[in-house]
């Protein structure tokens, strides 16, 4: 078995985790990235809720990348880490939708860029995590039978 086919779970987690951090930081826009801020009564401008969603998503992305790295070096933990990756994907879905949210108006930059981008990435992470855990589960049950 080649290195890639043997370690695809860890590599995918590493790639998707780093990809999430990079995408949020450089490619997916929050309202602050387009120069829109909330103005307080005292006149000072502050970041809106989407900026905090972006930071939280970057944090979860970083965690997924670390899980991928651990999975590459500690093979026996691959299944548990795949499940944790799927759970992290669900957490990432919840960040812009429920836990922190994005700006209210559907036409704001964050709702046109950050939210859809994060939802697609987190959907991919969840599916990859579930497939990775599922395939290992099948292999383990076959090994038990043998």
């Amino acid at each position: 078995m080649s290195y890639v086919s043997e370690n695809w779970r860890g590599l995918a987690a590493l790639f998707l985790g780093v990809g999430t951090v990079m995408a949020c930081h450089y490619f997916l826009d929050t309202c602050a990235d387009t120069g829109t801020f909330a103005t307080l009564a005292n006149g000072s401008q502050v970041h809106m809720v989407c900026s905090w969603s972006e930071r939280a998503t970057e944090g979860v992305g970083g965690l997924i990348a670390i899980m991928g790295l651990i999975s590459l070096f500690m093979k026996q933990s691959a299944r548990a880490l795949s499940l944790a990756m799927a759970a992290s994907g669900v957490l990432m879905i919840l960040i812009p939708l429920v836990l922190i949210g994005t700006c209210k108006s559907p036409m704001m930059a964050c709702n046109l860029s950050l939210k859809p981008g994060v939802l697609v990435l987190s959907g991919l992470i969840t599916v990859v995590g579930l497939v990775g855990a599922g395939k290992l589960g099948v292999r383990m049950s076959q090994a038990k039978v043998a």
Partner: protein, 400 residues
Amino acid sequence: MKPSLWRLTLYNLLRRPGRSAAAALGVLLVAATLFAGGLITQGVRHAVDVGLDRLGADLMVVPAGAGTATHKALVMGEPAAFYMEGQVAAQVAEISGVKSVSPQVYVETLASAACCTGRLFLIGFDPASDFTVKPWLTAQLGRDLEPDEILVGNHVLSMPGESMRFFGTDFRVVNRLDPTGMGMDETVFLPVASVAEMAQGSITKAEKPLTIPPGHVSSVLVRLADRDALGRVKEQIEHEIPGVAVVTPGQVTEGVTRDLSGLMGWLLPIAGGVLLISLMIFLILFAAIASERSREIGLLRAMGATARQAVASLLGEAALLGGLGGLAGVGLGLALYAIFQERILVHYTLPFLWPSVLQQVLLGVAVVLLCAGLAIAAAAIPAWRIAHLEPHHAIHRTIR
């Protein structure tokens, strides 16, 4: 097909999960593209029908050169501010065939200080002559708006009872209009007299004063006595009143259709390409399956299974693969459209109102049936060849 044959079919599909998944993936992509395309088309048409019906006008007279801004304001609620002499309303009313006219004043707000409303499009309507908001007001509120009251479109974030500040003047939201999927959903309606007061007050209260030339209006909504006279009245208005342009519901529909075809221009070739590839995969896959299983089917037939049952087994596999792939594709298409809806609509300047659940279900069922049907059609030739082999031939040779 009998239950035992369904089990056999399912077992055959699971025997080579990778191959089955690859075939289903092609179908999934076709179904997702077709469903998303169909959903967008249905939703855009629905929005145009509801929006234009709510507007209630047969024509709109706007300043010359303001046609594009009017289209964007009508379709997307993009704030617009342009003005023409108010006497245009009276001039239009005098033209034969015109039943009633109602002037409106457009205002583009400053970016809101509160998170996250952005700029809004305000429309000042004349309560005495209006036929866009007034019927709704009469039915829902039973009275006219007070000077400090506003009605908001369905997508404007404020709720009834809350206040909104425009150019330093506070207004109370009385109610939200029903959704139309058009620009009206992003619009705030208030009496034209309130717009004048707001403009006056903005000199001292707002960061930037609102300047509307005195006696000017932005558009004149026109109702005709006879809709068949639309072409003649349009020409007459443009000929007799200098400096104006006429926007008809037909032009709005045409514009939306043009924008929609821009989207479909790349969506449909993708669907067509993936469809061709999927059909080829199915043809190759089922030719291989027939070849691989001719011995097994020959044995089944020798044990008493009819040719029809053998065909049904193969076609059942194709239908199941096509149907499941199609179902997953419908789910994927719906999810992707829901995620990227706003981005697509803003990019292509499209209005959208979700079709009824029944229409969505019917569209989904049609897509799944189409996928299953195409899969069956692709598997039909190898299945037919198997059906016409004698059992002993099927056992001793493979199909080429």
